[in-house]
Amino acid sequence: MDLQYNQDELTFQQEVRLFLKNNLPENLSQKVKLGLELEKSDFDQWHTILNTQGWLASHWPEKYGGTNWSSIERHIFEEECCFAFAPRIIPFGISMLAPVVIAFGTEQQKQHFLPRILNGEDWWCQGFSEPGAGSDLASLKTKAVLENGEYIVNGQKTWTTLGQYANWIFCLVRTSSDGKPQTGISFLLIDLSSPGIEMKPIKLLDGSYEVNEVFFQDVRVPVGNIIGEENKGWDYAKYLLTYERTNIAGVGASFVALKQLKVLASKIKQGNSYLIDEYSFASKLADIEIRLTAMKVMNLKVLSLVQSGKAPGVESSILKIKGTEIQQQINDLTRQAMGPYAPTSISEFNNDFVLEQSNLYDDDNSLFQLGSKASSKYLNNRKLSIFGGSNEIQKTIIAKQLLNF
């Protein structure tokens, strides 16, 4: 048992740091640091830089353009990216669809889609959830009927994150209503420029737009766009959901957010002292830090499982629950830190103006800025415990699989 990185791991860490120092554009890291919204072009820019280095899809097999990093090395890479305020890698193509294509796709699908994911030609989004289905995915109703070598798709998907940037969507659709609900589902790739598709934004309670509804009316999809076998889509989706969830806890991002909060709390005046001197505040901060440090170790434990060839099962569910709880607690405490400034609205501010501030925390205007972000982020991130399989569903899974209840 030794939680310290060994010499090889430290060397790798240095390599990643150097790369980030030389290649991560400051306009991107500044935006991330200030919690500003990133646009499509920002993500594209970063993806391209990583792809040039060969590090965009680090977990893919080497023959398709991946690395052969160990799971510890992948962890180090992710951690360093967080510490350097790099944009996150958008997972829909790289971490969600690609593993499914690699495992179950035809050679033609692999040749066609994988390079386009890497070079940014395709931006994928996910079409799993439906209105009224929620965490009960298997009850989905969007139908695909095979007619003359084409599936005719009718129905509606929802909570499609960043669908506004996408040109392709991977969907679960019902191709049969025989047997158990899970058995009649297929996994379909759909070109969003096909006639009959409408993408409608959903405004969230904090005023932000990031999820969408997608409507399908008689959309024609070539039969070659199905993954694997018809009616086996549920298996592929399960594979997707359990695959590559080692970063699900968001440990690195939480450490960064906590660090920012600490600095903030040591700068916010409270009468003649500082917020950090208030025991009520400091105790919540310390409690989070202690739990986050424990979660780091829980995460390492899962990594070591993966390293030794085991697929994480309920461990992912535990990390998902704890990870989202901690992120939400940090968001909540950041909002509290802002005190009277917390209610400021996001819409009034100008990104460029914020970026001009030389020191983030030095004047009231930047306090306003952070306050704005803090309460929007608090509200927005209530989603973390709902989406991706609600924390309640995760608990039920753990009860069944781990406790045999």
């Binding site: 509200l379 209530r382 415990s385």
Partner: protein, 379 residues
């Protein structure tokens, strides 16, 4: 002991309930989101015509209420629809303060709906402390020259005049001045909030005012009492919004099916809804106590009774913060995705609940006040 509300109080609640239920459609809310005032002018005018501002003043002050119970009832109804009308900023901080400061003619003008005023008190470094005030009023030949900065003044843009607090010369006392909005050296920097309300920073740079602008040279006691009314109002408004959040959640649990059963059939959902109900009951009780103690103190005007009222309002404001966080987060979580959307009404309640905790002291602040008083009592 009498636990039931008087007929007058019951009527006040019912009138407001009917009024707001009718007015607060989703169109109205959309119009408010896009309004300059941050609320609906017609609704406000009708409220004034209905004489509802009178509920904020005692009979001596020319109203028909002004007690803890009136504030509790009025603001709960406001909260139940997450209304944006400025009954706190223009009502309590403007009208009631004017009455406390015995500005009769100002009270008349406001009551007639002719003008709005508010109080600009807190400053960038105050956070939630009443007495951390750095604005300076320097005596001049004709009156005073005022410099300072006031933060997060709700609805300032809608006012004609402000009460502002400042310290005169080297004095440690907090004085109150009445100043015009349009005056040389005063700048408003205004933004819109998450819930559509507007808020301003008020910069005062060498404002010259006459000596008659000084209304009171030692206003701490009045402010402390006024702020306890404000705390009660904010807690009551949050409680109203919590009741609506809880009701929406309970109803949605019955409608919405998952795994072929309504969510309300799941035991975890049942227990979590019941926990919401219980915590809301507890907060309701805490507000009844605070309202009672405020009324008692207003009647007796004894220091000890006011002290008790401060303890009770600190308790209520603390509990409204803690309970509010639970109710907001649980309501959204139990709703799932739909609870995250702008279109569904839950979000408005959640925002009101959470944001009220950030005015006049959050739960940490008020717990600390409670602890101070608890320790003083033990000595």
């Amino acid at each position: 002991m009498e636990f039931n509300y008087s007929d007058e109080h019951r009527m006040l609640g019912e009138t407001l309930n009917r009024f707001f239920a009718e007015k607060y459609t989703s169109q109205l809310r959309e119009s408010i989101e896009n309004s300059a005032q941050g609320y609906n002018l017609d609704v406000w005018n009708e409220l004034c015509e209905l004489g509802m501002l009178g509920a904020l003043l005692t009979e001596q002050q020319g109203g028909f209420g002004g007690m803890g119970e009136d504030i509790n009832i009025l603001f709960q109804e406001l909260g139940k629809v997450a209304a944006n009308e400025p009954l706190l900023s223009a009502g309590i901080l403007g009208l009631r303060l004017a009455a406390e400061l015995k500005q009769e003619s100002l009270v008349d003008e406001i009551m007639q709906g002719d003008k709005q005023i508010t109080l600009a008190h807190f400053e960038p470094e105050s956070r939630y402390e009443i007495d951390v005030i750095k604005s300076q009023a320097t005596p001049t030949e004709k009156g005073f020259r005022i410099n300072g900065k006031k933060s997060m003044v709700y609805g300032a843009e809608n006012c004609d005049q402000f009460f502002i607090s400042a310290k005169i010369g080297d004095s440690k006392k907090i004085a109150i001045f009445l100043i015009k909005k349009i005056v040389k050296g005063l700048t408003l920097s205004t933004r819109k909030l998450n819930d559509g309300k507007i808020v301003s920073d008020v910069l005062m740079s060498n404002i010259e005012v006459s000596s008659s602008s000084l209304i009171l040279d030692d206003a701490f006691d009045i402010l402390q009492k006024l702020f306890s009314l404000a705390c009660l109002a904010l807690s009551a408004e949050a409680l109203g919004a919590m009741k609506s959040s809880k009701n929406l959640t309970v109803e949605y649990m019955k409608e919405r099916k998952q795994f072929s059963r309504p969510l309300s059939a799941f035991q975890v959902i049942q227990h979590r809804c019941v926990e919401m109900v219980i915590e809301i009951e507890q907060l309701d009780a805490s507000l009844i106590q605070a309202a009672n103690d405020i009324s008692f103190a207003i009647h007796s005007n004894q220091n000890d009774d006011w002290k008790q009222a401060f303890i009770s309002t600190a308790s209520a404001k603390y509990l409204s913060g803690v309970t509010g966080k639970l109710i907001s987060e649980e309501s959204v979580q139990l709703h799932g995705g739909i609870g995250m959307t702008w279109e569904y009404p839950l979000g408005h309640f959640v925002k009101r609940i959470i944001m009220n905790n950030h005015q006049f002291g959050d739960s940490d602040y008020h717990l600390k006040q409670h602890i101070k008083m608890l320790k003083a009592e033990l000595v």
